[in-house]
Symmetry: C2
Subunit: 333 residues, 2 copies
């Protein structure tokens, strides 16, 4: 019997489609192996030696031997840094200049690096770059929301194989984000607790959907996972902003992320995925009701007319089975 | 300079990415021509002669010579017809049985039929089947929302080439739909007019984004189009529900739809797309503030981490240029 499960964060329903559900192992990517990449590609703007081809480097992590991670401006930015935040009205239509930030985090000098196969210290460099750039962008008062995300593979929307992430600073709070904040606020008002802390507590006590736990983080499949192997990583400590992570916590997150991405990599044959960090809008400070987290969405299912029309999702994987499957995959070497 | 444009229906912002914008002709699908389909496929459950392979036919349009359009139950339904609507609580989690309808509209007996290449009378049959089944499903008091949609092509989420659409009856109102109703209600309360009627009036007077107009319908590219060639078809007359369309209007819609899909077919080389009808939740009756419409979303862009994280979209096509391009494509023969 198929089941509707409510996503506690958006209050939307997900259909767990038992009638068409598939065993976890059937989701292993049948895509042909990615073409082996060279260690260094002389025509890649992100490879060492081509630093002058990228614009406006805002951050570099490294030493005299060279950089390990860099943050540069996107060459074809969706938002530009210069401009006024004035809104224009034309009849019923509102517009404004797309002022903001659109940066690229070049994660590693090696063209063929794979995030889950890097050492924890290297993943820590990437997370540090995220956080340090987050703080820089947040300083610009025009920015209201900062998105950090990573598109892995063509189905996830990237065509540049050199490992990279993106950081976008928006001059607005997206309606979707406002709605989530409202729901979290209402939950706090009604119960006196953070909805996310409560979720962590419940998931730890049931254990059914847990993938991996570290000292400071818990990774699990959401109860109302939107799609097969949709995965969350929550900090155990209540923090509203990614910025609040201590160095010790970031190192622990690197460990957790390596394990989770490694399980997806080895267990599902390196699926394409999107990874994103959901943090508090920058004009809010630490709140009792919002808790930042990381979301990983393997691009295994195609969202179609149903999803477009309803905003709801149909998931053909049972969350508890997905978690069990990933627990059974050894950690990446 | 990139521009943020506000989607009046969701109040979310779309980035019109001028820095990476492409001319309309660059969006022509480079996908290889679809494999030519046979007129009849003996192994296809939707082809004539195999009617017994489909379950629970609820509607048939045709005559003694045979059927022209059928509505049958989906063999692997996301929702099932039998069951109670009771909600279960387990800790903070809510679930319910996925009770509802999941039907398939077999649009035409020919396995190789292409909607825009059919005659207007044949498209009218499909739209009539939508409407007649809509009325049947709405009679079931457990149903709160009816979605009608069509997935065309693999990128749009279908693997069955025989031309078909789907009708889903949900026992809930999706949060996304609730939010749209709230916004439309507020607009009506503030201005005394229907936001959608106002949009039609404005688009007709500017003309910049119009694709095609018929006696009762207007098709145009939304001011804040979410993706390249995102297209709307609005009824000119104020109607909240698709059910209210008269026969005369449905015939006119067939004409409009044929023209619009034909322009996409010929102009963009038969792109994959999702088509959907946004109608009022079934427990509401005709309202002053909501207006049903049809939305067509070609699957040209891939939504990635940015879209997932923000609910916002980056569009690399300028809506006015897309409309001009489609106006210039002759109607399908």
């Amino acid at each position: 019997m198929p089941e509707l499960r409510q996503n506690i964060i958006t209050r939307d329903w997900v259909i767990i489609a038992t009638e068409r559900a598939r065993r976890p192992e059937t989701f292993v990517s049948r895509r042909e192996k990615r073409a082996a990449l060279p260690l260094h590609d002389p025509s890649c703007p992100f490879c060492p030696g081509n630093e002058s081809q990228t614009s406006a480097e805002s951050l570099r992590i490294g030493d005299e031997a060279g950089w390990r991670t860099r943050v540069v401006a996107n060459k074809f930015p969706a938002l530009v840094r210069e401009g006024m935040l004035s809104r224009r009205m034309s009849g019923i239509h509102r517009s404004m200049q797309a002022v903001g930030y659109h940066d690229v985090v070049v994660e590693h000098p090696r063209h063929d690096a794979q995030l889950p196969l890097l050492r924890e210290e290297e993943i820590f460099d990437v997370l540090s770059a995220y956080q340090r750039r987050y703080v820089q962008v947040r300083e610009d008062g025009r920015v209201e929301t900062i998105l950090i995300f990573r598109n892995h593979g063509v189905a996830a929307g990237t065509s540049q194989p050199h490992p990279h992430s993106q950081i976008v600073g928006l001059p607005v709070v997206p309606a979707q984000v406002r709605m989530r904040l409202e729901i979290a606020t209402r939950y706090f008002d009604e119960t006196g607790e953070c909805m996310f802390c409560r979720t962590v507590k419940d998931e730890r006590s049931s254990g059914d959907r847990i993938i991996f736990a570290t000292k400071h983080f818990l990774s699990f499949i959401p109860y109302a996972a939107l799609s097969p192997f949709h995965t969350w990583i929550y900090p155990l400590r209540h923090m509203s902003s990614f910025e609040s992570c201590t160095e010790d916590e970031l190192r622990d997150l690197a460990r957790c992320l390596k394990s989770v991405l490694g399980r997806l990599f080895h267990g599902l044959n390196d699926p394409d995925y999107n990874l994103l960090i959901r943090s508090l809008p920058t004009h809010l400070v630490q709140t009792d009701y919002f808790h930042w987290y990381m979301s990983i969405v393997p691009r295994i299912a195609i969202s179609a007319g149903f999803e477009l029309g309803s905003g709801m999702f149909i998931n053909t994987a049972i969350p508890e089975q997905s978690a069990e499957f990933l627990r059974g995959i050894g950690e990446a070497k």
